[in-house]
Symmetry: C2
Subunit: 323 residues, 2 copies
DNA sequence: GTGAAAGCGCTAACAT
DNA sequence: ATGTTAGCGCTTTCAC
């Protein structure tokens, strides 16, 4: 393929690259005549600037990386879409990297992003280890965590208010008369999952009911054999309601459980608020549009040199989807 | 933030950048002693290569751009995930750009991608105009269309076999005894939508029933007021079944229609084959994993100089999701 | 109003 | 086994 450079345009018009550069960057010290010639020729030749060269020269790319565990999760995909929308309007472009909930792929994604000279990183960490975050911190790359955080690492994050979320789920079930909820959660290293359980416990505590630790069933969000796992759960545990770590998990276990007994299920993320689904369910989700906006704001502040550490919790509420 | 360069490492060890470069690129002509020193220092200093410089020097980035109308559509998000998986294993990274079904954003996304010096582009076009594709063609950038194509432009594409898809939807409804299907489709410029209608007509023709053109109700996949539109349709048309352009549209119209009369609905994309949803529905989807694999293969061939034009149709089948 | 030239970080060809 | 250097495309400073 043919790549047109400033030099190609300059040669054709018998001017220098500096002149062409000035015209195309809108630096207004070139005669109207030359300006017009340059603009027309650039257009005709299909000139596209070479960001690699610009990046090398200027030391920035106006690009940020969004690194997530699963781009095919509708909740995450939607947040990415919002981030991309917002950043595009601010003249940034976004590159998205998927980690498949795999720690080593996460580390690789981070170095890929850095190698591409992005100006900042938004990371939803897998949390199997904190290597990635610590690397970002060490080299002082502007970044922020989204959707998940490490309680042990003092760093910027923007997450849902998951304790409140668990609490709301609890309140909802208590109101429905449920006394014995089971929490089908993520792995324990996903700390927001623990927060949801904490909130749930708190709501029940207030109602005089103690939820003990064995009601927390950890399950991988990428399990292949969810059906069997769920059948096991139904056999092994006594419960009159379910709180699931996410809508995705809720959707998968609902029909299996309903086959045996019909109990209320509450999920998280409120996927149906942006992806219409024709069935009834309840879910805790973030108000407005979630963490997308706040995350971009925080990151841009970090890029602009802000040293303050941001811990942002996005408010949540119960969604009941009825058809 | 501090960026470590080859020079920083070279200076610290009193060797030259060439030496360091050779070590880090695995060119085996450096003494073991020096090699070890370099490797250790690079690691310790947190060296990450500068792709802008490499790109400028080598003229390639090992990066491909995937440009899609809506990344928050689960069908598309899943295909992207598969593409990313496959390309990562081939040592490519992927940047994803969203166009919001907006033609001018699509053009901008293409120039952004080119500016970033990607080695190839996979484009699912908005189809309001063909400017983007024509630009890619003009500058001879390796690219392929995915999921949608232009019948008027001779170029590479990888799509579902949508005529067959429509045909299968028709057969399915005929078997259910439906004689009067309505096609709730996308805008007419989305040609794959027309193909689905063609297939549907063909199936009914074979059953001795003629479907005329007014049974094709175009509807935007991003309509805000789907409910009202659907209510209008229910009032205005006579039908005993529905074929929807996509699952997304099917999900949105199903409850509105079911309120008035319960009729079979067939969607497209079979979202539930990768995103479990706890309700029953029927959908036409691609076999195996869809166009993702084929699309990357074709693109890589184009990048490697293949001139042949690829028109790839991925086989489809009916999915019935029962819970 | 335009030209000339340095230099961003890197690789590869050539020297030693 | 290691050093030296040109040059990728661009922006910017300094001349004229």
């Amino acid at each position: 393929m043919k790549k047109v450079t400033l030099k190609d345009i300059a040669n054709k018009l018998n001017v220098t690259v500096g002149t062409v550069s000035h015209v195309l960057n809108g630096i207004d010290d070139i005669s109207v005549e030359t300006k017009m010639k340059v603009l027309k020729t650039a257009e005709k030749m299909g000139y596209v600037s070479n960001n690699s060269a610009v990046s090398l020269r200027l030391g920035k790319t106006n690009t940020i990386a969004v690194i997530v565990p699963d781009i095919s999760n509708p909740h995450i995909a939607y947040q990415i879409k919002l981030i991309e929308d917002k950043l595009r309007n601010l003249n940034y472009s976004v590159i998205i990297l998927n980690t498949n909930e795999d720690d080593s792929l996460e580390y690789k994604a981070i170095t890929t992003a850095l190698s591409k000279q992005v100006d900042g990183v938004l990371l939803c960490p897998c949390q199997q280890s904190s290597n990635g975050v610590e690397f970002l911190k060490k080299i002082e790359m502007p970044y922020a965590l989204i959707g998940r955080y490490f309680s042990q690492i003092d760093t910027d994050y923007i997450c849902a208010d998951d304790v409140k979320g668990g609490y709301l789920a609890g309140k909802y079930l208590i109101e429905k008369g449920c006394k014995n909820p089971l929490y089908v959660g993520s792995y324990k290293y996903i700390e927001v999952g623990n927060n949801r359980f904490e909130g749930l416990k708190k709501a029940y505590e207030e109602a005089g009911i103690t939820i003990d630790e064995e009601k927390y069933i950890p399950i991988s969000p990428v399990s292949e054999n969810i059906n069997e796992l769920t059948e096991d759960i139904v056999k092994k545990y006594n419960f009159d309601s379910i709180v699931a770590f996410s809508d995705i998990i809720a959707f998968e276990i609902m029909p299996v459980i309903n086959k045996v007994k019909k109990v209320p299920v509450v999920g998280f993320d409120a996927i149906s608020s942006h992806l219409y689904l024709p069935f009834c369910y309840a879910s805790v989700g973030m108000v407005n549009k979630g963490w997308a906006d706040k995350a971009t704001e925080v990151l841009l502040e970090k890029i602009n040199g802000e040293k303050r550490v941001f811990h942002e919790l996005i408010d949540v509420k119960m969604f009941e989807f009825n058809i």
